[in-house]
Amino acid sequence: MSRFFATGSDSESEESSSADEITPKATGTTFNKQALLLSDDEEDTKRVVRSAKDKRFEELTNLIKTIRNAMKIRDMSKCLEEFEQLCRAFLKSKAIVDKEGVPQFYIRLLADLEDYLNQLWEDKEGKKKMNKNNAKALSTLRQKIRKYNRDFETDIASYKEVSISALIHIHMKSGLAVLLQNCSYAPRIKTRGSLSCAVGESTFKRLPPCLRTQDADRQTSSRRPKKTKQKDRAEEEAEEEPEGEDGEWREVKGGVPMVKEKPKMFAKGTEINTAVVVKKLNEILQARGKKGTDRAAQIELLHALAAIAEENNLGEGIMVKIKFNIIASLYDYNPNLAAFMKPEMWKKCLDCIDELLDILFDNNNIFIGENIAEDSESLGISDQPFRVRGCILTLVERMDEEFTKIMQNTDPHSQEYVDNLKDEGRVCGIIDRLLRYLEGKGSTEEICRVYLRRIMHTYYKFDYKAHRRMLGLQGESKSEQDQEESEGEDSAIIMDRLCKFIYAKDRTDRIRTCAILCHIYHHALHSRWYQARDLMLMSHLQDNIQHADPPVQILYNRTMVQLGICAFRQGMIKDAHNALLDIQSSGRAKELLGQGLLMRNMQERNAEQEKIEKRRQVPFHMHINLELLECVYLVSAMLLEIPYMAAHEFDARRRMISKQFHHQLRVGERQPLLGPPESMREHVVAASKAMKMGDWRTCHSFIINEKMNSKVWDLFPEAQRVREMLVRSIQEESLRTYLFTYSSVYDSISMETLSEMFELELPTVHSIISKMIINEELMASLDQPTQTVVMHRTEPTSLQNMALQLAEKLGGLVENNERVFDLKQGVYGGYFNRVRLLYPHSPIFLSLSDQKSGYQQKQNYQRGGLQVPDSGLLLRIVKHSRTVTGGPAFSPRLELI
């Protein structure tokens, strides 16, 4: 509202205050006025267009206002600055100007400014008084405007003509009229009353003239006497107005080219046919992608066009074409690819696609395709089938991507996310419909693509219906709707069908890879471990996945993780561990699964990369629970590592099965004060400690309890079965650990006792022990009649073990030392050869080579668990170590041996 005054702000405050009272009404009327100009059926469309125009024009008028102010105070540099801005703003609103014509006020400013500058230029006196900056700005501005005005010559000329012809009284009315047309008009009005007239115009209509003048009088009379003259003039005009109104309106319209309010679709009375509509459509589309194009307006225009087309029954061909373009421009609405669509816009798009599909389904005679050239389209109603250029599949794919983007950008813990997620059903519906459509009409590639879309929406969902059906819990207390739903195909069957089609028909590697991965994922999710594993092995994806693009790699990682979890559920601990090892050992599981970015400093990744990475993120509803993942991994590692550690306690070359697990153990050890476990990790660590002692009951209570159930185990679909499997594994592995750790304490141990201790059946204990004996892990034999295990006590003592380790290390040291020597001699094995050459039959060489073979023997001993050589060995090693400690000045002290 205040803009109203602002635009005409060369009028003084008195008028403003009087105007203030009436403006609310005034705005109302202006709108009414506009409405009159519009054609009835397109009213709301217009308003949007207008508002866009208004915005641009407001910017212009604001700039003009400042210029005028600057002119008044002769601030040339300010003038220049503003003028440049104005030019830019004008350029920006070019699209609107193209439609509407050059706005009157703009022309006026140009003309005035030029006059004004010329006047200043002539005024030598004044120029001298100007400071340097101003003078400089003046000359620049003058040149600029001269050049600039050349483009508007005709407009300016016509303006000048009008302004001369209607100068004295009328020109301010013209200002009024123009003001009414463009609410944001900055009139060059020298007479002070014009604004009040303009704004109060509607009031004038309603109030009797006398009242009006009184009103003006009352207000103005209280002001400074200086203004009286102006006030008089205002009165004069006010009186004049009622009579002259009509005529003047006409005059203004004639003189000033009307600004087009709104691009009318078609001139009144034009016969609307296909050709015209197509032409118009192309016209609209030309603006697409151009800089100043108002995208929202474009969408509205297209909608309007669609409405017209429908109204005139131009046939489905044209409708399809327009719809295509509407959807395309909806996608265009966001100029930035990284930004996501607003959910509302996206929903609109969803509707459009739905409608489009409706049309396509209803009319069998429409052919669409990307390869149909623009000029070979046939849109008109004829006997021939419609041919339309466009690809519905691409649009749907884009829609799906936008959906992903929306989900990525919504806070996953908000209600909004849930609301958005509800639309997933619609997306699936559309993809399903498209799938049916393309199955009939599309090419193989297109079918593959749409199948992949379908797969992508299916693979990560657990099919509860199928699961229940499998368990035979069919229909106990289910509502009818559930019943209905369960009629549908199992997702497994769907996946199978779609994937197999892709395997057979697809020619792009990427789609097939994705399909395989999804298929495996789906299998794994539904505990079909062998199928999943076989598919993974057959596809050989593990070998070449590093060549794939990051999204596929993320999918691969997800699949591997799901595979591992599946193996775990099936009790295949080793497989589970192997599958999860890669993901977990990096410590970046979150990033590798595309479930969040790791905090990293900016040096490692700039903003651009971060954006790219963000775009790869998997939406929240598809996430794999990271805690579950870690827990599964750690528990598998525990079940493997603890017996292994117990078995290889003294092994120097003991390797770690799982670094991650060891890390957790170390963290647990470092704790100064050990309280009861809180987190999942602490539980596992505590359980591991218990297991180390062979205490399976404690281990069990740490792994399976209320806390762990709610945190981890209950997340599995078959939680109870998994728990049973876990208990069993814990018992078995604890037994093994116990035997490894304490076998040296026993002379013999009864299997029955063991079976009682670990609550395992006797045959199981028997089989475990037999396996250990066969694998030479346990030096014992079974005594069948008494059902006992008799220990052989052949394990080396810890001192012997140490000596062995030392011997091994010394072997390495000698080798390293030799290498240094070789480097100096230039031959490998030079040392020994040299010795042989120097002392061909010397016993020294023999003893050295004896020792070498001695190491190997020892390794054999260790592996075979045979008796270690006598204590003389130790002395020999000690002696030997003296030989090799010569260090840099390596002088083989052979005499020692």
Partner: protein, 326 residues
């Protein structure tokens, strides 16, 4: 205090019993397991021997009081001792050890600075574990003049050590120790010996060996590992060096050929470039650590050898006792 002996090599040390007892007490009170205790030796030089007549410990200080000034403390201590008219001349320092591990860089550095400042100073190494087994183990060490030279020049590169012709055997020299008592004290001891009943000394005959051996082996292994690493480092250095030499050679040859060609064509030869800048030799790894490790390994080996031979003797003895008939 008389004149000091010029040649430090012939120094023998004569600590008094009191000093030894003080050191032992110090360890008993403050030393725990592998922690070491250190202190200052005081005494005087008589003829060609060094008499250690007194000592005082360095206080154990934690990292909290970082502003603790050791030098200040020593000076203060010595001043106080002078006031009560006790020998206050600095003649070295002592340190406890854990399974004979004392050959380290820190020891080398501090002994070097001692010997640099006070020529005749020694370091006394006290092994509490061996002592606990029944035989007092106290050894005095000095750096050899050769090592002193090297340390002065701070040249620990392979070439430097090679030139100095130093091996781990020549790093430290052991100084013989004679422990003396005042005659009056000796008399008292004789008297006491008559009166006291003999204390049971079981430790000396203990047959258990594995614990001690295990520990020694463990330490030995650690050193061997370190040694291995050092050697690998040295090895890679050698390889890099030779590779670079080769490259340099090739480059020079190419340059020569090119110059010859240019000469035949009558063009001026290529400008000389600074070859040493283009082929910067890789920094040689310091070898002093290797020497020290070697020395330490040697030390361990001696210990183990000593221990095992003693133990074997004990075992044979025990066997003979068990089967007197055979």
């Amino acid at each position: 205090v008389g004149a000091r002996v010029g040649t430090a090599a012939s120094v023998g040390s004569w600590p008094l019993v009191g000093v030894v007892l003080k050191i032992i007490k110090h360890y008993q009170e403050e030393g725990q397991g592998s922690e070491v205790v250190q202190g200052v030796l005081l005494g005087l030089v008589v003829d060609d021997r060094l008499e250690i007549t007194n000592c005082f410990p360095f206080p154990q200080h934690t990292e909290d009081d970082a502003d603790f000034d050791e030098v200040q403390y020593q000076m203060e201590m010595m001043r106080s001792l002078r006031h009560v008219n006790i020998d206050h001349l600095h003649v070295g320092w002592y340190q406890s050890t854990y399974y004979g591990s004392f050959v380290s860089r820190a020891l080398l550095d501090s002994q070097f600075s001692y010997q640099h400042a006070i020529e005749e100073s020694v370091v006394l190494i006290y092994d509490p574990l061996k002592t606990a087994q029944g035989s007092l183990c106290l050894k005095a060490y000095r750096l050899t003049p050769k090592l002193m030279e090297i340390c002065k020049e701070k040249d620990f590169s392979p070439e430097g050590l090679k030139k100095a012709n130093i091996g781990y055997e020549h790093m430290f020299e052991e100084v013989p120790i004679v422990i003396k008592n005042s005659h009056l004290m000796n008399v008292l001891m004789w008297e006491l010996e008559e009166k006291s009943t003999m204390a049971d000394k079981h430790e000396l005959l203990s047959l258990s060996s594995s614990n001690h051996l295990e520990k020694s082996l463990q330490l030995l292994m650690d050193r061997v590992d370190e040694m291995s690493q050092e050697i690998v480092k040295y090895n890679s250095y050698c390889r890099n060096l030779s590779k670079q030499q080769q490259q340099k050679h090739q480059y020079l040859q190419r340059r020569q050929q090119e110059n010859a060609q240019r000469q035949s064509r009558g063009e001026p030869p290529l400008p000389e470039e600074d070859i040493s800048k283009m082929f910067k030799p890789p920094p040689p790894p310091p070898r002093m650590d290797t020497l020290l490790i070697a020395g330490q390994i040697n030390n361990y080996c001696q210990n183990v050898k000593e221990f095992t031979s003693q133990n074997l003797g004990k075992l044979f003895m025990a066997q003979a006792l068990q089967h007197p008939s055979s």
